[in-house]
């Protein structure tokens, strides 16, 4: 990929978006037959599935917790999901993403209700275009709700960043690769608290605050789409 001369031209981004605009977002709940809960998310060119199994008996048994369930997350990228072929199986990046995804979701779950069990969340990225961990978290939250796992709220997630000195919402691949900063954020929308926060690049304190504001706004929009996806599957329609 060639580095474009500018990432922001006349206030518009390479794909024509305004700095505070999300990519087109589609979410569907209950898309996999065998899983207890599932969801599919398309965010721009990202295509991501999430499946939830459980609460079910924890194997291996030495990983059981006597007083609570364990949330186990596995983020994985399909070998064909990126330009070069990605070697299948977990690498250091996906292991770290699996960990922060788990920590982003744990605060909304009542794990203490299911001692000795495990709730498995599997995230599979089929097509990647920056922001896959946030798309994965959005899908996983809907899939957990679809599985009927008791939750305090959903978790909504989006990345914010900086390109050509401007704070932007929802980075696409070119902006992630050639921009200055990438900061994925996940929040519990009703509580307005942050459950995932990572950042690399450069922010002053003011830019950091501005970026957080933008992330909260973006997450609220995503939250609406997540709720809509669940309503579409579970609302009782007229005539039923």
């Amino acid at each position: 990929m060639e580095k474009p001369e500018k990432l922001l031209i006349d206030g518009k981004r390479l794909d024509g978006r305004a700095p505070d605009e999300l990519r087109p977002l589609k979410i569907k709940a209950g898309v996999l037959e065998r899983a207890d809960g599932s969801a599919y998310v398309e965010l721009g060119n990202n295509k991501v599935f999430a499946a939830v199994y459980g609460p079910r008996e924890m194997h291996p048994r030495h990983d059981q917790q006597p007083d609570s369930a364990v949330l186990r997350c596995r983020y994985s990228m399909a070998p064909f999901s990126v330009e070069d072929r990605k070697r299948p199986g977990p690498d250091r990046r996906s292991m770290e993403i699996s960990k922060v995804t788990r920590e982003a979701l744990e605060p909304v779950l009542f794990l203490e209700l299911y001692p000795r069990s495990v709730i498995d969340v599997f995230i599979e990225v089929l097509q990647a275009d920056a922001g896959t961990r946030t798309a994965g978290i959005n899908a996983a939250a809907v899939a957990l709700a679809d599985a009927g796992v008791p939750m305090r709220d959903l978790v909504s997630s989006v990345a914010v960043g900086k390109i050509d000195g401007t704070i932007i919402l929802d980075l696409m691949k070119e902006e992630d690769q050639f921009g200055t900063t990438d900061m994925p954020v996940a929040i519990i929308p009703r509580k307005k608290v942050v459950t995932l926060l990572q950042m690399d690049g450069h922010f002053t304190k003011e830019e950091f605050k501005q970026a957080l504001d933008l992330a909260f706004k973006g997450c609220e929009k995503i939250y609406e789409v997540q709720r809509q996806a669940l309503k579409e599957k579970y609302a009782i329609k007229e005539g039923e």
Binding site: P107, K191, M199, K205
Partner: protein, 254 residues
């Protein structure tokens, strides 16, 4: 094996924090004493040992010939690796690195890489074929909490200690290091923020936030960990704490 703590101790630590006190007598916004020793390892190009309270981390930097990445044929390569050695804690086991070690290495990698602390563009030798690779290897020797901060400080200290390799391909007068990123971790315990949690505090904390800042106070890396959450206000407080403590720690590098 995870870190386990008794309910009595947990309640004790939380009660102390509620009163603005800590299990080792520090103030909530006080770091443990940090001691930096440079140049201990003759076989490395640069090295440093950091003691942060009872935590001990040793970092060695090696400069080696390597093949460049195809998309940056003229730039050097930075590789950070961390080993949670079994000698450092009863909960560390031999074997392939677990996610804790991977996260540790990746957070430190981001702090150094994203601040452009090392000018990797100057570390090319022959375009597309040969470049300098900077290996930062982190050995955790004694784990009493605060591994990210100790390892990040030891890494940047070891980089300031790097002497040019005796190699005809090395043309630079000195190692091209231009910034000093420093990581400081803030833990949230019972809705209070405490700086530089020790191991007992890490066992009871709800969440942690590591913020890596450079000399001008701007941020180059952030990592949240733990199963709790932070409010907006707490994030800003954590930044203020981390950036001011980083200034203090940076003094230790001189």
């Amino acid at each position: 094996m995870d870190e386990i703590i008794s309910c009595v101790k947990r309640d004790y630590i939380i009660d102390l924090v509620k009163q603005g006190k800590r299990v080792d007598g520090r103030a909530l916004d006080q770091m443990r004493e940090a001691v930096v020793e440079k140049g201990l390892i003759k076989t490395a190009n640069g090295s440093a040992k950091v003691k942060l309270g009872k935590t001990q981390v040793l970092v060695g930097v090696k400069l080696m010939h390597a093949e460049p990445f195809p998309d940056t044929p003229e730039s050097g390569v930075l590789i950070v690796n961390a080993e949670l050695l079994p000698l450092a804690s009863p909960t560390f086991e031999p074997g392939p690195p677990r996610v804790e070690a991977i996260e540790l290495a990746r957070v430190i990698d981001r702090g150094i890489r994203e601040s452009d602390a090392i000018d990797l563009d100057k570390l090319g030798i022959k375009s597309g074929e040969d470049v300098w690779s900077v290996f930062i290897d982190i050995d955790v020797l004694d784990h009493d909490g605060g591994l990210i901060d100790a390892a990040a400080l030891a890494s940047i200290a070891a980089l300031t200690d790097v002497k040019p390799p005796k190699d005809e391909d090395w043309k630079l007068p000195e190692f091209p290091l231009s910034k000093l990123p420093v990581a400081v971790t803030v833990a949230k315990i019972d809705d209070r923020l405490v700086v530089d949690p020790c191991l007992d505090e890490e066992r009871v904390m709800d969440a942690r936030l590591t913020i890596t800042t450079i000399e001008d106070g701007s941020i180059c890396a952030i990592q949240k960990g733990g199963r709790g959450y932070f409010t907006r206000e707490e994030l800003e407080q954590a930044y203020d704490l981390a950036s001011s403590k980083a200034m203090e720690l940076r003094e230790k590098l001189r």
